[in-house]
Amino acid sequence: MSFGRTAFRTLGGPRELGAWLGPEEWQAIALSLKVAFWATALSLPLGIWVAHLLARPPFPGQQILNGLVHLPLILPPVVTGYFLLILFGRQGPVGQFLETYFGLVLAFRWTGAVLATSVMAFPLLVRAIRLGFETVDPRLHAAASTLGAAPASVFLSVTLPMILPHILTGAILAFAKALGEFGATITFVSNIPGQTQTLPSAIYTFLQVPGGEAAAVRLVVVSIVLAVGALALSEVLTRRARARIEPSDAQA
């Protein structure tokens, strides 16, 4: 009951939005947005490439690649985070390599949160884009090649523009997933305010401390708004991009 009352009071206040959220809450939101942005931006090119590979006619190893991409969707996120820690931690083989040669440390840094959320969001990204590749009629590729376009040109001038709606959908889904990822992130980079405390970690923390409910509820509201907003944006963009391609298939 007290939770409900707190929520009502919190939302009903006439204060400015800036004052509505405490500095720690702002920090968590800003960090989450930054992490989600970089996670989406960095995994997008790789996601397009992997989706392309998976949509192609079967080749040896395709099923293994497919399984690997989808693993984070099935595994408990904590397990994924644990694997990241083993591989990319400062003692891990990849982590050591990155630190020695590039001076890059991922564990317990916000950059590690980018990696963790990327891995977790990757299956969603790939699935959406792969669907796009599968809808493109390969006969259009043949047509483009007889008109003089080399394979790379065909990809850039025919395939990519045609699957743009799917890329947008995939990117927005991945962004939303990255905003909300909790298990793998907290396992890999912990929950350090101002450094690795993302939106869900902050909600979790506020719920653990006495009197933190109000802050938690405010962040819950922000999460819902961001998630619903992303979903709506994806829907609008997809529809608009699709309408450009097929404004009803009616033949005169």
């Binding site: 483009a144 008109l147 376009a149 450009r244 391609i245 033949q251």
Partner: protein, 368 residues
């Protein structure tokens, strides 16, 4: 000049052809499943033959023995597919110009406006393919192929997906294209009517092999080709010059090398040479000049060849003036009339239709 040699095996189906396509329009004729599309795909480089050679002018595009294979995008062959295959995400204008950016700089640039005028698609430029009718799409596809400045145009059943009205709407555009451009055309079709109007050279593909090939008029008037061309549709070409119009009975008089012929009135000016297409089954043979008969067109002819078919029919090759045509009658008639090569007979033409070279729609076949 395109030269194609290909051997290809698909399970039990074996294909072994040699085809030469000189300048002009070369038609590959054959029933569905005779392997015509496979041949075009081999020419376009969309398919590698088991064994084969494709040579255009003096460029070797494919040679399996020497291990030469030129990628489709480097061949510069404009391909018009049966299903148009316009890019759905581009406007008609961008579709038309798609191939131009990949054309080599030394290619003769073609004028968009000239082509859109030829194909009558100027009003469609800002529309998207999804909103076009089947005939409009196919015209845009043809324009797109030409504007890529190809060395040859490949057309695979460009009219097959259209209904009869659209077909007759599109045929004049194809004729204009043939007459106004020096790009040779390889035209695949299973419709003899289309081929008779468009082709200058014909290769008949039968069960994976070329059964007849040569100049269109020759193949169409070859009695032995009647079966391969289709007994019902086969017909030969008779050139005729418009002499006069007779408005009172709505007929046009034309002169052939064997005598006058009357047609339902056409719009062409006197002096115009038209190609009359005479269906083999619409010719009646008579040993004496028939009088008191409703048919207006009776031409003296000499039998050159009699070729009995497998069924009840026989194909009779005729020399009519300077032209060869073929008539299809029953074997019983051949026996009863004791017809034999060298004999003089009269060919009674039940109906005629205009063929290649005319800009008007072929008038309905009418018994005259």
């Amino acid at each position: 000049m395109l030269r194609l040699e290909a051997q290809q095996t698909f399970g039990p189906f074996r294909m072994d052809v040699e085809i030469s396509a000189p300048r002009g329009t070369t038609a590959l004729f054959g029933r569905s499943g005779s392997g015509k599309t496979t041949l075009v795909n081999i020419v376009a480089g969309l398919l590698r033959p088991d064994v084969g050679r494709v040579v255009l002018d003096d460029t070797v595009l494919t040679d399996t023995q020497r291990g030469i294979f030129c990628s489709p995008h480097k061949r510069r062959l404009g391909y018009v597919f049966q299903d148009a295959r316009l890019f759905p995400h581009l406007s008609v204008r961008k579709n038309l110009l798609y191939g131009q950016r990949y054309a080599p700089p030394d290619a003769k640039p073609l004028d968009l406006m000239q082509i859109t005028e030829l194909l009558d698609i100027g009003d469609l430029l800002d529309r998207r393919p999804a909103g076009l009718s089947g005939g409009e799409r196919q015209r845009v596809a043809i324009g797109r192929a030409i504007l890529s400045a190809p060395r040859m145009l490949l057309m695979d059943e460009p009219l097959a997906s259209l209904d009869n009205d659209r077909k007759s709407e599109l045929l004049p555009f194809l004729e204009r294209l043939r007459d106004n451009s020096d790009v040779p055309i390889l035209y695949v079709s299973h419709s003899l009517a289309e081929i008779a109007r468009l082709a200058t050279t014909i290769a008949v593909i039968d069960n994976g092999h070329v059964s007849f090939s040569g100049p269109a008029a020759q193949v169409l008037s070859n009695p032995r080709a009647v079966h391969a061309l289709g007994v019902r549709e086969t017909g030969s070409i008779l050139p005729a010059t418009v002499v006069a119009h007779h408005p009172t009975d709505r007929l046009t008089e034309l002169a052939t090398s064997a005598g006058p012929v009357f047609l339902p009135q056409v719009t062409h000016a006197p002096g115009t040479v038209l190609q009359l297409r005479i269906a083999a089954r619409d010719i009646i043979l008579s040993k004496t000049r028939p009088t008191d008969i409703s048919a207006l067109n009776v031409l003296p002819a000499t039998i050159t060849e009699i070729h009995p078919g497998a069924g009840p029919g026989a194909a009779v090759g005729l020399m009519v003036g300077k032209s060869r045509i073929v008539a299809r009658i029953t074997r019983r008639s051949v026996a009863q009339m004791a017809l034999e090569p060298g004999q003089s007979v009269y060919a009674v033409l039940k109906s005629t239709a205009l063929a290649a070279g005319d800009e008007i729609q072929a008038p309905p076949a009418l018994s005259l």
